[in-house]
Amino acid sequence: MIVTEGLSKSFGDFLAVDGVTLHIRAGEVLALLGPNGAGKTTTVRMLTSILSPTHGWARVAGYDVVTQANEVRAAVGILTEQHGLYSRMPGDEYLDFFGQLYGLDASLRQKRINQLFGLFGLQATRNQRIGEYSKGMRQKLALARAMLHDPPVLLLDEPTSAMDPESARLVRDSIHELRSAERAIVICTHNLAEAEELADQIAIIRHGKIIVRGSPNYLKHSLLGAAEYEVKLAVSLNGNSPNLPTGAQLTSLGSDWFRFQVNQPEMINPQLLATLLNDGFPIISLHEVPRSLEQLYLQAIQAPDESNRSHA
């Protein structure tokens, strides 16, 4: 659905995006993460054919972003960082206006507008001027605009910002549904928990370059090392290190617990449990230590600039 190869964009001497290569299939969500000014918005604008690449190429929904710009724009639904709504317009008129721009006929427009107002709980305010909408309602309306023409590709910049938890859940559920409906989705976000929940692929961009890309699990493994487990014992270790089988490496130690890293948990963990029991340590629990995307993100962003790490 979205394929880019060495996509770059310069503004004068400033290289905003540097050789971005992405492959996003239908039914896949890519979370594009990175600090402010890293090149996320510029990348998205190239994928919408608003900016033309200086180097490289991109195809969106099968169309070239340079030579088939209008087809690309028709195939993309975009939620911009600034919603850019017309405050004097009522909500339904706003969606109707964009429906006309996207060439939807009157009956389809009405159907889609009703669906989306229903989906986002905006039915009661559809005739109100947008200027009277709350922040969250505006965000929902902007999202409805992006989804109005049922595009195969969605580019969403901070889709749940300014939303209350309930509305944010609603939007995340909608994104899950869109993924199930085989849409290709790119989300630019600073909300790492949301990215972790939604994304099949994560790409972290810094200084215009994708520095890491892959599934959340792959990235955690490759950046943070082997999975870490914690064992909780019913007795105190009295400062002694437990006897671990080969392949397990002790990482931290408490009075009645310890953590270890292991590359092949399915092989090593049963051996470790047997050893502990043999050594007379009754076990309360064994669980994987959850590793947040935040750890991964910070590690990637703070790492010195080096060649990209990626996994398709």
Binding site: R73, G84, F98, G103
Partner: protein, 479 residues
């Protein structure tokens, strides 16, 4: 029929934009109230003024002033509401950019011209409608008060004039709006529209009081040409990327100088290399404008010649048969034959070229070329005048024009071509370059040909004019 259907189909998205914008305008009291005032209150005020003035001038036995005043006020009543179109058009793109609503709009599958045309029409329609309503109100009032009805042709002229004035202002303002990054900057640049429009209204007022209404057609025709050029400029340089990407309106003098100087020097390694290799490149880019300017100057000469029978000079003005030593002595007395005269003539010609360039920059080269046409019109006029006095026009040209004109006229043609290119570049699309870069390139070509060709040619022409032309005149027309 199919073509019309296709065209209407393509026009539809533009009309969607227009409809939204017009609705939005009618929701804004800051636009509604001035429109109502200028549509209803202002024509009423003009009615009152007309009535009072007609009574006043009639009491002094000068009814002609009243007769001319009523049509003049008709034009003014039409003009005031369309002035709002300038305000609307100025913020059409840049206002959306400031409110961040431009990105969703330019992300939609609209073609550039559809977006541009939709905005243009939206800025034009409500004020123009208000202007026509105002004209109706004024006409009804004037008819009821003094029983005056306009001649049908005059009414058509006023309606057309109001429409083209609005179109010129709107098309100019939309160009500004799409090329600036803030409404403030757009408002500041609006003086480039307001000042010429004020001058134009003054000229049209003179025409209205003169009463020669046929001249209004020329004003309408001229403004249609300007509007077409402005629309062409706007569409040619409309660029989604720049609309979104440009953040500041700062003038980067260092960047501009670097661009200009690198284009001016080119790949030359020495002055000789520059003259041998770079100047021909610039000249090649000017070939089409050179042909055009040559044609225009020939036309100007012919126009000048045709005016000789219309504006005749007394028959003894050209007493060339008695040209003799006294002619040279007279010139010598005023120290014509000196290096200083060369400088004076050279500087005079430079002033003319500077004026042509300056005017050309602000008028798509039109006014610049008109300035260069004037001397050729004079040559044509005087040549035809001496011909009517029984003197050979060829001998006249050989004696008074050709000796220095052989260098001066090519210099004027080349300079005119460079001015034409600078003006035309604004109305032509420039691929992969911004409007500023394209214009700087044209300016560098202008500078190159001025330095390397035009100025030396004019200097040599001035020397010939001082030392050779008078001698040639004596040889041909002397005793």
């Amino acid at each position: 029929m199919k073509a019309i259907g296709r065209m209407l189909n393509q026009l539809r998205p533009a009309l969607v934009i227009t409809r939204r914008e017009v609705r939005d305008q009618f929701r804004d009291w800051r636009i509604i109230i001035p429109i109502i005032v200028l549509t209803l209150v202002f024509p009423w005020l003009m009615n009152f003024t007309a009535r009072q003035l007609v009574n006043f001038v009639e009491s002094y036995g000068a009814p002609i002033i009243g007769d001319r005043l009523i049509p003049f006020l008709l034009m003014i009543v039409g003009f005031f509401p369309i002035s709002i179109s300038l305000v609307i058009a100025l913020e059409s793109f840049v206002g959306e950019k400031e409110r961040h609503s431009i990105e969703p709009l330019i992300s939609s599958p609209l073609r550039n011209w559809q977006l541009y045309f939709g905005k243009l029409l939206a800025s034009l329609a409500p004020p123009l409608l208000a202007a026509y309503l105002g004209i109706c109100v004024y006409l009804v009032g004037v008819y009821r008060q003094v029983g005056w009805l306009p001649d049908m042709m005059l009414l058509i002229q006023i309606l057309a004039l109001t429409a083209v004035q609005s179109l010129v202002m709107v098309s100019g303002a939309v160009v500004i709006s799409s090329q600036t990054t803030s409404t403030r900057a757009a408002n500041l640049l609006a003086s480039f529209i307001i000042i010429p429009m004020v001058l134009l209204i003054q000229a049209e007022s003179i025409i209205m009081f003169w009463g020669n209404y046929a001249v209004l057609w020329w004003a309408i025709f001229g403004q249609i040409i300007i509007a077409i050029l402005l629309i062409r400029t706007g569409v040619a340089h409309f660029n989604r990327e720049e609309l979104l990407g440009r953040e500041f309106d700062t003038i980067n003098i260092r960047w501009a100088w670097a661009k200009f100087s690198s284009a001016f020097v080119g790949n030359a390694k020495s002055p000789l290399d520059w003259i041998v290799h770079e100047i021909p490149k610039s000249f090649r880019r000017l070939i089409t404008p050179v042909i055009l300017v040559t044609f225009i100057l020939i036309l100007a000469t012919i126009i000048g010649a045709t005016q000789a029978s219309r504006f005749q000079l007394p028959i003894d003005t050209f007493n060339l048969e008695n040209l003799g030593a006294g002619f040279l002595e007279g010139l010598d007395e005023i120290r014509f034959f000196s290096i200083g005269s060369i400088g004076t003539i050279w500087l005079h010609n430079l002033r003319v070229l500077a004026l042509a360039t300056l005017l050309g920059i602000f008028s798509f080269a039109v006014l610049g070329i008109i300035v260069l046409m004037l001397p050729m019109m004079l040559i044509g006029y005087f040549t035809a005048t001496v011909a009517s006095a029984g003197i050979s026009p060829w001998l006249f040209l050989t004696a008074f024009v050709l000796p220095h004109g052989v260098l001066e006229i090519p210099a004027i043609i080349i300079a005119g071509a460079a001015v034409l290119r600078m003006g035309a570049i604004l109305a032509a699309p420039s691929k992969n370059t911004t409007i500023g870069e394209a214009w700087l390139n044209a300016l560098s070509d202008w500078s190159r040909v001025m330095v390397a060709i035009v100025l030396p040619l004019l200097l040599a022409a001035a020397a010939l004019e001082v030392f050779i032309t008078p001698q040639m005149a004596i040889i041909i027309f002397g005793n």
